[in-house]
């Protein structure tokens, strides 16, 4: 055979222009080259037109004074702060809405998804109607609906729906009584950390105990109990000792134009959170439903035969298996929610996108500002994907 091959070789030598391998390589190089040239040209074109209009292309504007206020911020910010800090405010606002939105839409999505499979006719159909309604209308329309037709129609601040000292709801948002640091907070604050340490110790001990008893290793309830107990006891101790409570309730009250005190959820934040949650929950519900349906019927029947209640069957048998099917598409929904939060501009919520467009406009640095914004969104999305992948690989079936 080998001999034959050798003999045939010379006459069968393929010219390079008909050699598939060479052609494939050339094609790929050419493609890359074209792509590179295209980018080169696009960038060159951009640079030259920027130069022509004397628009600078540097990032030295970041430390300059922004000059504009931002409606809400989770860090201290005022118009005298820098553009850089304004970016940070936008990033944090986006993270705040994304994290809360992800948590809430997951909870609602699971409830509705399970509801769609309920044997209760009303529940099943209500859940179905919900999904069809929210999945089949554009998010932008829903957001404007929530903001204009629901939130703005709430009573004005002077006629707010309120229980004095506890909460007030108006078309400017919701204000709630909230615990804040009292006089003796400094004395107590160390006990906060002590509590956490106690929790960790309790966790370790409880785990060892369970191991000895050969019982499921669920140690966190005891650990949290220990934390709370430490906090409560130290809190009472400090209170009795100093005569003033470490935490006092800050009660909202109407003063001048607005309610002050307590914590506030602004109308804009409320509308965006509501819109993103309702919309995304509809998609998550479908994913959850599909995940549950993917678990074979035998599992449910076996669980019932063993005497599990329907709730136990769902929690202990069906859902853990469904999770494997659910997590990958769920990650997509989380990414969507995060990116969709850029529609906050429609309801006046100062998320990264809104703040960025303002910075762009006020500083004139369109290219730089958009690059920064894209990098931020990319980083957030990659981070979410990373966490989801880690979780996913932990939940995967361990095949031995």
């Amino acid at each position: 055979m080998a001999q034959l091959d050798n003999k045939l070789q010379p006459s069968k030598a393929i010219p390079f222009y008909r050699n598939v391998k060479v052609l494939a390589l050339v094609a790929q190089i050419a493609f890359l080259l074209i792509l590179g040239l295209l980018f080169w040209w696009l960038i060159g074109n951009m640079l030259s037109s920027l130069r022509r209009s004397n628009i600078p292309l540097s990032f030295d504007f970041l430390p300059q004074t922004a000059g504009f206020e931002i409606a809400e911020s989770s860090i201290r910010y005022s118009a005298t702060d820098s553009y850089g800090r304004a970016f940070l405010v936008g990033i944090l606002n986006t993270l705040r809405i994304a994290v809360l939105g992800i948590i809430l839409s997951t909870i609602f999505g699971i409830i509705i998804g399970i509801g769609r499979l309920s044997s209760n006719w009303l529940l099943r159909n209500l859940a179905g109607a919900y999904v069809e309604l929210f999945r089949n209308t554009p998010l932008a329309v829903q957001l404007i609906f929530w903001f204009v037709a629901v939130i703005l129609k709430l009573p004005r601040v002077r006629d707010a729906i309120a229980i004095d000292g506890i909460f007030a709801l108006s078309n400017r948002g919701l204000t709630l009584a909230w615990p804040v640091a009292g006089e003796s907070y400094a004395a107590w604050s160390i006990w906060f950390w002590v509590g956490l340490v106690v929790g960790v110790i309790a966790y370790v001990l409880r785990r060892q105990q369970l191991q000895r008893l050969d019982r499921p290793l669920v140690a966190w309830p005891v650990a949290w109990l220990a934390v709370l107990a430490t906090w409560l006891v130290s809190w009472l101790g400090v209170w009795l000792f100093t005569g003033s409570s470490p935490l006092v309730i800050d009660q909202p009250h109407l003063s001048g134009f607005n309610y002050i005190g307590g914590v506030s959820i602004t109308a804009a934040f409320f509308a965006l959170l509501l819109g993103l949650t309702c919309y995304t929950a509809a998609f998550i519900a479908e994913i959850v439903r599909a995940g549950i349906l993917a678990v074979s019927k035998g599992q449910r029947e076996a669980a019932q035969a063993l005497g599990f209640t329907p709730f136990q069957t769902m929690r202990l048998i069906i859902f853990p298996q469904a999770l494997r099917v659910i997590i990958p598409p769920l990650t997509n929904q989380y990414l969507n929610l995060t990116k969709n939060s850029s529609l906050g501009i429609l309801v006046s919520f100062p998320d990264l996108f809104f703040v960025t467009t303002t910075i762009n406009n006020q500083s004139g640095r369109a290219v730089q500002v958009i690059l920064i914004m894209m990098a931020c969104y990319l980083a957030m999305s990659l981070l979410i994907s990373l966490f989801a992948n880690i979780y996913n690989s932990r939940m995967r079936l361990k095949e031995r």
Partner: protein
């Protein structure tokens, strides 16, 4: 294998197309800047030439120079006018949310004070005030639209500021409306000064000078406020109307205009404070002096026409006027229009189409309109105002 061969073929085709496109561009370059067309493969010559023609950063090699070249011809060669003529219409960045200045009327026509300046330009170029497309822009969108060349000119209650002339890359034409920032509140709240507004929630539109001035003005008197920032005028004013804000701020012209579309206008007053100077002026992209001159002198022409009493009704008779000022304005004497690249009688076409400055003002903002803004600083300098047309000479 078949796929691979196909891919290879397509790539080669693409490459060929690309090369062709490149050389094409180099070719069109030649007439306008012959020096730059050559250096594609001659770094030694290319680099110094680059340094000489494109001031800021001398290109390190000839290659980037060659790639940046295609965009260069539009630089200062005055091609905007040609582009507009070739296109057959002007694209005007405008407002559609401020009735009186720029809005869409019941019949779908775009109308307003600023809009008529767009029409005046179209008349100057084409002799037809309708050869214009309006591109409604929010405050946020407007500068990018100018920078990217999406609009030829921006006439949309835009304040002339140093930043906008420099880093935003724009050139402003003469101010067509002198304004100042105001604050509108509910009559029943009895508010008279900025200090009275301490702690109030204030609606403002983002991307405006007014959002900057607001912060300044409150800081100056040591008052605090909660901003509620919206993307467009409709959002800003409907939130104010719904009571989400205690006050709303923007240019006084904008307030006067939008007050009329609140649910009960008579319940609201514009406070007697002025936060800033807001000279509202048309703007073009920097780098085309001819186009900027055209926008500038059409506006001066409108100012002059009012000063000399040339109106839409009498412009034809005025062609036989003896006043040399009028004769030059209307192109009966001199070659002034040609200097701009327009017909010498461009102002005749403009005035026949939209009238003079005073007529435009009266039509949209005058005593017979619902807005009715007194001329004030926008009167002719001869009446104590700031409207002053530079001489047609």
């Amino acid at each position: 294998m078949k796929v691979n061969r196909f891919l290879g073929f397509v790539s080669v085709l693409l490459l060929a197309a690309f090369v062709a496109a490149c050389s094409n561009q180099a070719a069109t370059n030649e007439p306008s800047s012959p020096v730059e067309a050559a250096p594609t493969d001659a770094p030694a010559i290319g680099a110094p030439v680059a340094a000489a023609t494109e001031a800021p950063a001398p290109a390190p090699t000839a290659a980037p120079q060659a790639t940046t070249a295609p965009a260069a011809p539009t630089a200062s060669g005055g091609s905007t006018l040609q582009t507009i003529k070739d296109r057959g219409e002007l694209i005007c960045g405008s407002n559609d949310q401020v009735p009186g200045f720029g809005s869409v009327d019941a019949s779908g026509q775009t109308v307003g004070f600023d809009i008529d300046f767009c029409r005046a330009l179209a008349a100057a170029i084409f002799g037809d005030p309708n050869k214009v497309t309006f591109r409604p822009l929010t405050a946020q969108e407007r500068f990018t639209a100018v920078q990217s060349g999406e609009v030829d000119v921006l006439i949309r209650n835009t304040t002339n500021t140093l930043t906008r002339e420099t880093v935003n890359g724009m050139d402003f034409a003469p101010t067509n409306f002198f304004d100042g920032q105001g604050i509108m509140v509910r009559k029943s709240d009895n508010l008279n000064t900025i200090s009275d507004l301490d702690g109030a929630t204030i609606c403002v539109q983002s991307g405006t000078t007014t959002e900057l001035n607001l912060a300044d003005a409150f800081r100056a008197v040591g008052a605090s406020f909660t901003p509620a920032v919206f993307e467009d005028a409709n959002g800003t004013f409907s939130a104010y109307d719904a009571g989400q804000c205690d006050a709303v701020t923007t240019d006084k012209s904008g307030l006067a205009s939008r007050r009329l579309s609140l649910s009960s206008p008579e319940d609201h007053v514009i406070m007697d404070v002025t936060l800033s100077k807001e000279p509202l002026a048309p703007a073009v992209l920097q780098g085309d002096a001819q186009w900027r001159d055209i926008v500038t002198w059409v506006i001066y022409g409108l100012f002059n026409a009012e000063e000399y009493g040339v109106t839409q009704a009498n412009v034809q008779e005025q062609l036989s006027s003896d006043d040399p000022n009028i004769r030059r304005l209307l192109g009966v004497e001199g070659e002034l229009g040609a200097g701009l690249g327009l017909d010498n009688d461009f102002m005749v076409k403009v005035i026949s189409a939209v009238g003079n400055y005073g007529e435009i003002y009266d039509r949209h903002l005058g005593p017979n309109t619902p807005i009715n803004i007194p001329r004030g600083p926008n009167a002719q300098y001869t009446d104590g105002g700031l409207i002053y047309g530079m001489p047609f000479r």
